[in-house]
Symmetry: C2
Subunit: 406 residues, 2 copies
């Protein structure tokens, strides 16, 4: 018997999450086991409020392509974490009553580790109560910090934007005949994958990045100063990439360090601008090098014009695969990537138990970090370079990117 499919998006947006949505919708609309494809607006909130829309319009190929190039979450998002069943069983009952009302045979939740926690809880509840709805997660996060899967959809595009920005910022520093440093603050509180991804700017004749500051290593101002001074002996300018989440040996965020500034009110206080500004002040005040800091902010997760084709296509494929898995009866799983080879780059998509993913964080392993923790190794380059390859065709109208608004 044909059942309906419901999908939703959760967590922070990426340039590729709508490509996964497109994959889910395409998979659903072309599956013999699926009748209607629905989308819940603002994640699990939309399920609870029955804010549910019919996605049948995406049978149109033009619409589907436009969805793939649209960054951010088409269906909206939420940050709501489900309570334990014991704390609020009514909530679970409400969700499954909505599933029943809409004849939802398949629920696919696109998101990061928090969302996988929701998938885990709902699929366990379904099993326990004998509900037939099959529930799966579809991975996404620019942070690349999901366990088990080789990498996450959304990471390649964010890393590509960051690497290309850093590359062009570096060229900009070469213009004047003087020493200068640019500090780029990059997202990733506990895992430094995206910050490390900026080092992919190093290619061909250009080597912008010499120092990366990652949450995987303790940040020490003295060691950093020594390393930077040694870099500046060799070249006029460099781009330092800094993860927002770096900490000192006592476990305190560097963003909250008290770096005294000259001028102004004269008080030593934490920088208002985050870790980038803190490091900028340190370099200019203590090392006396002209420095500018740049925070990529939400631009790094939403700038589709520099997306990775590999990422966009894999995001689509993983969404489609999730439909395959649930319609074949699997539940409580998340399709992820297994790397078969680096050169040529080959992956396969397999279902993983969400219990192995939910609430866990994958950080950069030791072999991808230099001994002093301030750079990445060849192993990282081999791992990450394939993920940023290829450029999707982008449609424009009136000089601006065509975007799909719900």
């Amino acid at each position: 018997m044909k059942r309906n499919l419901l999908t939703a998006q959760s967590g922070g947006p990426t340039a590729a999450i709508n490509s996964s949505l497109a994959g889910v919708v395409f998979g659903g609309l072309s599956s013999a086991d699926v009748d209607k494809v629905y989308g819940a607006v603002n994640g699990i909130e939309g399920v609870l409020k029955e804010n549910i829309i019919d996605m049948g319009g995406f049978a149109d190929k033009g619409m589907l392509e436009l969805l793939k190039q649209t960054p951010s979450s088409y269906l909206g998002s939420c940050r709501r974490k489900l309570p334990e069943k014991a704390e609020n069983e009514e909530l679970y009952e409400k969700i499954f009553s909505v599933f029943e009302k809409y004849s939802i045979g398949y629920f696919l939740y696109i998101g990061g580790n928090d969302s996988m926690d929701t998938v885990k809880k709902l699929s366990e509840y379904a099993k326990e109560k004998g509900h037939e709805t099959k529930i799966a997660g579809v991975p996404k996060t620019i942070d690349n910090d999901l366990a088990v899967t080789d990498h996450t959809p959304g990471y390649g595009s964010a890393a590509k934007f960051v690497a290309n920005s850093v590359r062009q910022l570096y060229l900009d520093t070469l213009v004047y005949d003087m020493k200068s440093v640019v500090v780029t603050e990059i997202m990733g509180r506990n895992a430094g994958w995206l910050t490390a991804g900026a080092s992919l700017a190093n290619s061909g004749a250009l080597h912008p990045v010499d120092i990366v500051c990652l949450p995987e290593a303790v940040f020490d101002f003295d060691a950093f100063a020594e390393r930077l001074n040694s870099v500046m002996k060799e070249k006029n300018t460099t781009i330092i990439t800094v993860s927002e989440g770096i900490k000192d040996s006592a476990g305190n965020y560097i963003a909250e360090s008290k770096i005294s500034r000259t001028g102004g009110d004269g008080f030593a206080h934490a920088s208002l601008g985050g870790v980038g500004k803190t490091i900028e002040h340190f370099i200019s005040e203590k090392l006396h090098i002209k420095t500018r800091s740049i925070e990529f902010s939400t631009l790094q997760r939403c700038f589709s014009q520099n997306a990775s084709l590999c990422d966009i296509e894999e995001s689509f494929a993983v969404g489609r695969a999730a439909v395959d898995f649930v319609t074949k009866g699997q539940s409580g799983i998340m399709p992820g990537f297994v790397r078969l080879s680096d050169e040529p780059y080959k992956i396969e998509i397999k279902p993983f138990d969400v219990a192995e993913i939910a609430n866990l964080e994958k950080r950069i392993p030791k072999e991808m970090l230099s001994e002093d923790g301030m750079n990445v190794t060849e192993a990282f380059e081999k791992y990450a370079r394939p993920l940023i390859l290829g450029e999707p065709r982008i449609e424009y109208q009136n000089g601006v990117i065509e975007l799909l608004k719900r």
Copy 2:
């Protein structure tokens, strides 16, 4: 008799200044009146230091195309302003002795209003002393503030990056079901063209920008608050675009306003992060709306992957035209654009006397501003939209933009 051509770049880099360089070099290499084409490194400094390179390698079409897609200044830049002749005639003599040594019949200086001042002084000196070198400027500036010319090379690409970023940042704000504001701080100290350009994000079903804060209008916190509150009654989120140079009615920079903050050291002080942070604090502290500020920083002048084809092609054409004009005997001129029609967009390139351009600034005229000064009119849209149209083909290698390094 064939003479050599010397070119150089000055002022801040743009995504299109190397396209103008390509136009000059192509024009020179294909002109019957030009023997060799040279480039001086770091602007007029390179002339004084005889840091001069042969540009003959750009006869290769692949190299020339790569130069066109490379942002920043291939030949490097400087910010040196020439003193008046009376103050340091030796400097002038030195420059012309270098011209003589290298048989420079034509000197083309690519830059903004300061560079046009150099062109003016050198061409007047040449005339006065009977030097035969013909001297012309080639316009560039993301600020679009050069007098006489309809617009400037470099502006279209910067405006396109800003508009496309704002458009995608807006989509990002729509993701959560809550009110929020993003403040984008945009370059332009005295002229608001680039900040106004962000409003080109408004197109089709998306209308991200409702308020633009320009140096052409006095910024008043109360009027701003009233306008923003009225916008937020109509919609959940909006992007406010703010020029770094906005001032209050007393002529003080808003970036230096004392906006008291809660928490922290409790002192009221100027924001460290510039005008974006100041406005962000004002909105979140006084109007109690969730706000984030983003400074595009140098990214807005160097991100080639979102360049405007119109801009890249016109920048090339204006460089080439400058060669035509000087080889026909003109001196002390800058080729500029005359707008023939908006729809269809048509321009012609004409030589203008640099004396009409040097040291002047063109600001946004009244008819392009709304009455309250907080928005642009249809007239601005008509003027600016054609300048961001078209997308150049970008070459990648290893997932990053191919760039030419000197």
